[in-house]
């Protein structure tokens, strides 16, 4: 079967944009992507849109044009963007459509995400006691991982330092000032072992990707960026997820628990006919510094515990063996939920086209990997090839 290709990309810079709604940031990204693909809105045959907190994506037809286009809204936690992209890919693969849009945007209030126990099928006392705080889960997950595999807090610091260094080179990033590792390690703690620089913040932004059949992509005359795999998976038994008053005991607890990311990753590599060693650049969910560490292993790029050496040797730097989060990831870009997973794919397209400017991965990268993880145990992976 021929591949689905990405023929246009657009982004509204991440961060805070007062006076501009989430939908408007999505529209901004769509217009940029249309321009990039060299097409007009009426040529778009279908759209999938993701937003968690900034309204229904389909309402953007008001601004883009009332062409009667099919427009489906997707909500899937932090994997919403990945789910929109997966759905768009399937619409083309089915043969029903030749060209369409995956768009994601969001605009969250300042501070941590608000969560109520009832929304997660939890009793009220759980919130009363102070456990409806997502940062607790992320911190407890890395704390056990560090204890099992000898990961130091300095390595967490190196991840954050790299994120801000890469963000400084990225026009669409929110945090664009490098921060020294000393400042990162000594900053006020949020949830041990994480200081305030080791968590990303909810933010704003919009991303649009235009997908086309290979035939249509050739007609448009764009360089072919092939979507070799797009997977979205849910969690296996015994996993450790956010807002868990209890976790299953298991017979052998000497390794990390299974995750949706492992499943999505394994299936993506199988679909693409590739192995982790074939990937030239990767964007891995880094809502906290330790997430990048654990996701390196969950996605098969290294063994558990090897991250300590990888980071010390700079192997995930832009010039390293496997550059990770070349635009600064969630740590530098913030996390507008609906847009975040699509930002990773946007960044990968930029890298594969060689348009990365100061943050361009050297050596003409040919393959690129993206991974998002969300509550309560959903994960989406894409593999692109030029």
């Amino acid at each position: 079967m021929s591949d689905v290709c990405i023929v246009g990309v657009g982004i509204h810079p991440f961060g805070r944009t007062d006076g501009m709604s989430g939908v408007e940031q999505g529209v901004f990204a769509v217009r940029q992507a249309l321009g990039d693909a060299g097409i007009d809105w009426p040529q778009i045959q279908f759209a999938y849109g993701s937003s968690d907190a900034a309204g229904n994506p389909d309402t953007m037809v008001d601004r883009l044009g009332l062409t009667g286009v099919q427009f489906i809204n997707v909500r899937n936690g932090c994997a919403a963007g990945g789910s929109a992209l997966f759905s768009a890919q399937m619409a083309i693969k089915s043969g029903e459509f030749d060209i369409g849009l995956a768009v994601g945007f969001d605009k969250h209030p300042r501070g941590a995400f608000d969560a109520k126990p009832a929304e997660y099928n939890l009793p009220d006392w759980y919130g009363d006691a102070g456990y409806m705080v997502t940062t607790q889960f992320f911190a407890a997950k890395i704390m056990r991982y560090m204890s099992l595999f000898g990961i130091s807090r300095e390595t967490l610091g190196r991840v954050a330092e790299k994120a801000f260094r890469n963000g400084a080179k990225t026009p669409h990033a929110w945090r664009r000032q490098p921060v020294s590792i000393e400042e990162i390690l000594e900053a006020p703690m949020i949830s041990d072992p994480y200081s305030k620089y080791m968590f990303c913040s909810p933010g704003e932004g919009g991303v649009a990707l235009i997908l086309a059949s290979e035939k249509k992509a050739r007609e448009l005359g764009k360089p072919l960026i092939r979507l070799k795999a797009a997977t979205m998976r849910t969690r296996p038994p015994h996993s450790f997820e956010v807002f868990a008053p209890s976790i299953d005991v298991v017979e052998d607890d000497s390794g990390p628990r299974g995750t949706a990311s492992q499943i999505a990753s394994r299936d993506a590599f199988r679909l693409a006919g590739m192995e982790p060693g074939d990937i030239d650049v990767a964007q891995l969910q880094d809502t906290e510094a330790g997430a990048e560490i654990m996701h390196m292993a969950e996605n098969g790029f290294c063994a558990n515990g090897d991250q300590e050496q990888w980071l010390a040797e700079g192997r995930t730097e832009i010039g390293g063996a496997l550059p990770v989060n070349t635009d600064g990831g969630c740590l530098a870009c913030g996390e507008p939920i609906g847009a975040s997973g699509l930002r990773q794919v946007y960044e990968n397209v930029v890298q594969l086209r060689g348009d990365g400017g100061d943050r361009q991965v050297p050596g003409n990268p040919k393959t690129a990997y993206s991974h998002v993880y969300g509550a309560p145990g959903v994960s989406a992976v894409t593999i692109l090839e030029r």
């Binding site: 501070g111 009363d128 006691a129 102070g130 407890a140 997950k141 704390m143 204890s147 041990d192």
Partner: protein, 131 residues
């Protein structure tokens, strides 16, 4: 003093935590779901620390119902061998002395340590040699 919710602790002295055993699979969860598929069961009072973090800022109210005055506390996951890993406070230990694997014993504490009539929440404290 009473528990923060009905059915969390047994009525004995000292109390134990109450979990739920899935009648079909034998899987143990906490708290016991309000469902006929689960049978309430007292959980072991002894466990070991599986993981933890320190909550360094006051959680948002609502839903947090703790005192206005905030002092950081430890969120622990405590493995009750052969049963389940439960989330609870960890008390009576300095933050820097917490070690994954340390033996712990169930010791409910008031949600507001300064209020004599405060409700009790599940908590553990170091046991045995670590106490």
């Amino acid at each position: 003093m009473r528990a923060i919710a009905d059915g969390l602790f047994t009525d004995e002295t000292p109390p134990r935590l109450v979990g739920g055993c899935d009648r079909a699979t034998g899987r143990v969860v906490f708290p016991c779901p309000d469902s006929s598929n689960y049978e309430a069961m007292p959980l072991s009072s002894d466990g070991v620390l599986w993981s933890y973090t320190v909550q360094r800022f006051r959680p948002k109210t609502p839903p947090y119902a703790g005192p206005e005055a905030f002092a950081p506390w430890i969120v622990a996951y405590v493995e009750l061998p052969g049963q389940v890993i439960v989330e609870a406070r960890l008390v009576d230990v300095a933050f820097e002395d917490v070690k994954i694997g340390m033996p712990l014993r169930f010791k409910p504490v008031p949600l507001d340590p300064d209020a004599p009539d405060s409700v009790l929440i599940p908590a553990y404290a170091p046991a045995g040699d670590a106490a």
